[in-house]
């Protein structure tokens, strides 16, 4: 069973679509998605590896495998065109695999593999913003070995090391044409980076728990990407023949989260999370080429994102011993300032509503299912400070997901 699901995951596109603030994809656990993606102030089981390594010391030994399907839709209308076009985004499949094992009663080791950042957006080669972007695919898979220690009965701490790998593929049209059509550029490269995830978990009473976690910034670096240019023969001399190499760096921002969990009854769990996301690290998108491209060895566009907050609430109600129902909501502020909107991440303040259910088949095996609806505010922007595309964007996403938990 496990190997089959792993094989299935391996065969899908390991990407998210731009559905949270910026290019963050907050889909780390099916149970927690159902609860508005709260969880820093809870013992979330194996997914504490992500939400709060400090709580992992309390988690049962076990393995969780889950995945979501992101169906995202982005509408765009050019200024005064009175005509809407849609991005044709492929379905993204972010996933999560967590395993926790107790070395001693107080010390636990865990390994998480998950996809907290990504974006896949496809505008095609005909829309009016094609000189900014045809298609972007950004993938980042985090591998996080983690240790967690129960200092006292009420206090746990944990820390994980993050190795991130993935890649970027960006395609855009170039405003130069011959009789065959427009010129184009494709940038493709593997990227990797390092970071950490630390947390502290404190449960003073049975009814109340607190958590604080910090997931560090990870700078994804493309060391040796490939940039290729398809241009008219008469201007080929201005572009590197056969392409060139490029370097780029994309910061995956830090996230500091304070969470509170509250159990008013045995059957009900309530949770609140507030996160501060360090988006201000994303100041520019710069590509440095190995050779001159149309007279310059780099391109750079300002991004100047701002730090932003996410506010989450969630609830879980155990209807029976084996069935739990969940619901949640969140507000995710956009990090993108006015004038900086781009078709890569046509971002706006977004509202998320989620439902979920958990079902325990037996003592060891349980299943989670979730459904998240994301609605971003309609946003009109000139995009004039970021080399973007002027117009109005509106995005929604529908995200069903399932997970299997095996505890031992």
């Amino acid at each position: 069973m496990k190997s089959k699901i792993l094989a299935l995951l391996g065969s899908t596109l390991l990407t998210g679509t731009a559905i949270a603030g910026g290019y963050q994809v907050n889909l780390a656990s099916q149970r927690q998605i159902g609860m508005g993606h709260t969880g820093t102030g809870l013992n979330t089981g194996t997914s504490s590896i992500f939400f709060n390594p400090g709580a992992m010391a309390q988690a049962r030994n076990g393995i969780t495998i889950g995945a979501s399907a992101i169906v995202s839709k982005i509408a765009y209308e050019a200024p005064e065109s009175y005509n809407t076009v849609m991005a044709d985004n492929p379905t993204g499949t972010p996933f999560q695999v967590y395993g926790v094992y107790g070395i001693t009663d107080k010390l636990k080791a865990g390994l998480g593999v998950y996809t907290p950042f990504g974006s896949t957006v496809n505008w095609g080669t005909e829309w009016n913003g094609r000189f900014g972007l045809n298609e972007l695919s950004l993938k980042a898979i985090f591998v996080q070995p983690t240790l967690s220690y129960q200092i006292t009965e009420k206090l746990g701490i944990g820390a994980g090391f993050v190795y991130s790998f993935g890649g970027v593929n960006l395609q855009r049209s170039i405003p130069l044409e011959n009789n065959e059509g427009e010129a184009s550029a494709e940038l493709d490269g593997d990227a990797s980076g390092f970071g950490y995830n630390v947390g502290i978990f404190f449960n003073p009473t049975d009814k109340l728990s607190f958590g604080l976690s910090y997931r560090s910034q990870v700078d994804m670096e493309v060391e040796d990407g490939t940039a290729t240019f398809t241009v008219p023969a008469s201007v080929q001399s201005r572009f590197p023949a056969g392409g060139t190499s490029f370097k780029a760096e994309l910061p995956l921002p830090s996230t500091l989260t304070l969470g509170i969990g509250f159990n008013p009854t045995d059957k009900l769990t309530l949770a609140v999370d507030v996160s501060r996301v360090g988006w201000s690290a994303y100041e520019r998108l710069r590509f440095d080429y190995g050779a001159d491209v149309n007279g310059s060895n780099f391109t750079e566009n300002a991004r100047n994102y701002e730090d932003s907050y996410i506010y989450r609430i969630g609830a879980e109600y155990n209807v029976t011993e084996s069935l739990a129902l969940r619901a949640g909501a969140y507000l995710d502020e956009t990090p993108v300032q006015d004038g900086y909107l781009t078709p890569e991440t046509p971002d706006a303040d977004s509202r998320g509503l989620s439902v979920g259910l958990g079902y325990s088949i037996n003592e060891n095996i349980s299943l989670d299912a979730s459904f998240l609806y994301i609605n971003k505010k309609e946003r009109t922007d000139q995009g004039n400070l970021s080399g973007g595309v002027p117009g109005t964007f509106k995005s929604v996403a529908y995200i069903p997901g399932v997970a299997l938990n095996y505890n031992f």
């Binding site: 009175y82 009016n128 094609r130 405003p175 044409e177 008219p232 023969a233 079902y359 002027p390």
Partner: protein, 462 residues
């Protein structure tokens, strides 16, 4: 387990029904507002006709700004059958060049890689084929669409030409009272442009005329005296008072049945690439060359003409007296081979017809300003929209970005001007259409959708 599979199946089904729920952008519907676009007629000159790359040809016509306006008007009640005197495919007609030895018709220009006069291989605009004999080329290029024509743009027309009976008469070609481009599609030899336009009973019109009233003077390097009783001096800019009367008469006829419309004003022609591509001081010398030239002029007693190392103003022969050009003065595009390969402007002075002096530019500005004051006054007085192309070209001249593309008034690479340095690319025509749409929407509370300019070609590279 079965229970769960059933439930997750229902969830997937639920998701499936939601998938069809596309996001919607809250924008109003297009509307014609207080305008009626049912029958749209465009009057003007070569810009209106869709002339580009030095010639009238099919693709330029199909993407002329009036054709693009009509396409947008059709979304708010306009007729989608906009008729133009289209050229046969693959045929092009430039403005005839008539000399003592004969008359020929230039062909449209394309970019080619070839050696220039100095032997340097590079991209340059060249005529795509052999020049054709005049007037036979025109006779062989009858319109492929039937009239009446919504696009009444006539290349070369000045303001008063639109009022002139017989402007389309074959018999008037020899003495210059007729225009071969109008002869192609005039409804009769005796008619005028305005008569053919009004006969269509337009509900909406655009009138953008007057560029040639001053451009003719500029293209002649300002080589025209103010007209007198003895010398009609046709290249001198049209008298501004008369210009206002011509525009007034045209508008009076066009609005007689209550039609609404838009007037375009006249850009500063000195900002188009034809006049800005060759800098006045493109004569770059070493100190030895400078000393040699200074000595050569001194030997002829012209000690006021000296040269220095670096950039120098070209030497021009003005009213028989050589002098150096100063900052602000302009050299015509046609001088580029002369200064590059024939030593003109340095070893020997450039002819006055290749240069716009400060005094000539002042005459151009004075007339353009006066024309534009008249156009604005007539537009306001008749409740018509007013497209300020003068301000628009100033914006182009400073350069701007739109949808990730840079636009400016550079030759070949500026994306607005075609390979003749005067007329629009198809992209430039789309931008002009949007300038009209902006003011039409504002004036008539309309919401005519803007053209997606990126769908139209700029200069095509080999």
């Amino acid at each position: 387990m079965k229970n769960f599979i059933y439930k997750s199946g229902m969830l997937a089904l639920f998701a499936g029904t939601l998938v069809s729920c596309d996001p919607e952008i809250d924008s109003p519907n297009p509307t014609s507002g207080q305008a009626n676009f049912e029958t749209y007629v465009a009057l003007g000159n070569s810009l209106t006709a869709g002339f580009a790359d030095g010639a009238l040809y099919l693709e330029g016509q199909q993407n002329s700004y009036p054709a693009l306006l009509a396409q947008q008007f059709a979304k708010v009640g306009g007729d989608d059958n906009f008729m133009q005197p289209l050229m046969p495919a693959g045929v092009s007609l430039g403005s005839p060049i008539i000399t003592a030895t004969g008359a020929v018709v230039p062909q449209k220009r394309v970019l080619k890689i070839q050696a220039d006069c100095a032997g340097t291989v590079g991209l340059s605009p060249v005529e795509a084929g052999e020049r054709a004999p005049y007037p036979n080329a025109f006779l062989g290029a009858a319109p492929t669409q039937q009239g009446p024509y919504n696009n009444m743009g006539v290349p070369g027309a000045k303001s008063f030409h639109l009022l002139a009976p017989g402007y389309g008469s074959p018999a008037g070609l020899a003495n210059g009272t007729a225009n071969p481009f109008f002869v192609r599609f005039a409804s009769s030899p005796a008619t005028s442009v305005i008569a053919d336009a009004v006969a269509q009973n337009p509900t909406f019109f655009t009138l953008w005329i007057g560029n040639n009233d001053v451009l003719g003077y500029a293209l002649a390097g300002g080589n025209a005296e103010a007209p007198t009783a003895e010398n009609p001096s046709p290249n001198y800019p049209t008298n501004p008072t008369a210009f206002g009367q011509y525009i007034g008469a045209l508008v009076q006829q066009l609005t007689a049945n209550g039609a609404k419309g838009a007037l375009g004003n006249i850009p500063d022609v000195s900002k188009i690439p034809y006049f800005t591509t060759v800098p006045y001081n493109a004569l770059v010398l070493t100190s030895e060359e400078a000393a040699g030239l200074t000595a050569a002029y001194a030997a002829q007693g012209l000690t006021h003409i000296t040269f220095t190392e670096g950039a120098n103003g070209f030497v021009v022969l003005e009213d028989g007296v050589p002098r150096k050009l100063v900052a602000g003065e302009l050299v015509l595009l046609t001088a580029s081979d002369l200064v590059k390969c024939e030593g003109k402007g340095s070893m020997a002075p450039l002819g006055d017809e290749y240069v716009l002096s400060a005094a000539e530019l002042a005459i151009i500005k004075e007339h353009t300003d006066a024309y534009n004051a008249a156009i604005k006054q007539i537009a306001d007085g008749n409740g018509l929209a007013h497209a300020d192309f003068n301000a628009y070209l100033n914006r182009v001249s400073s350069g701007f970005m739109l949808n990730g593309v840079g636009y400016n008034s550079s030759f070949v690479t500026g994306n607005i001007f075609s390979l003749d340095g005067i007329h629009f690319t198809q992209r430039g025509a789309a931008m002009a259409a949007n300038e009209f749409i902006n003011v039409i929407n504002a004036k008539y509370n309309a919401r005519v959708p803007k053209v997606d300019e990126t769908q139209y070609s700029t200069v095509v590279f080999p």
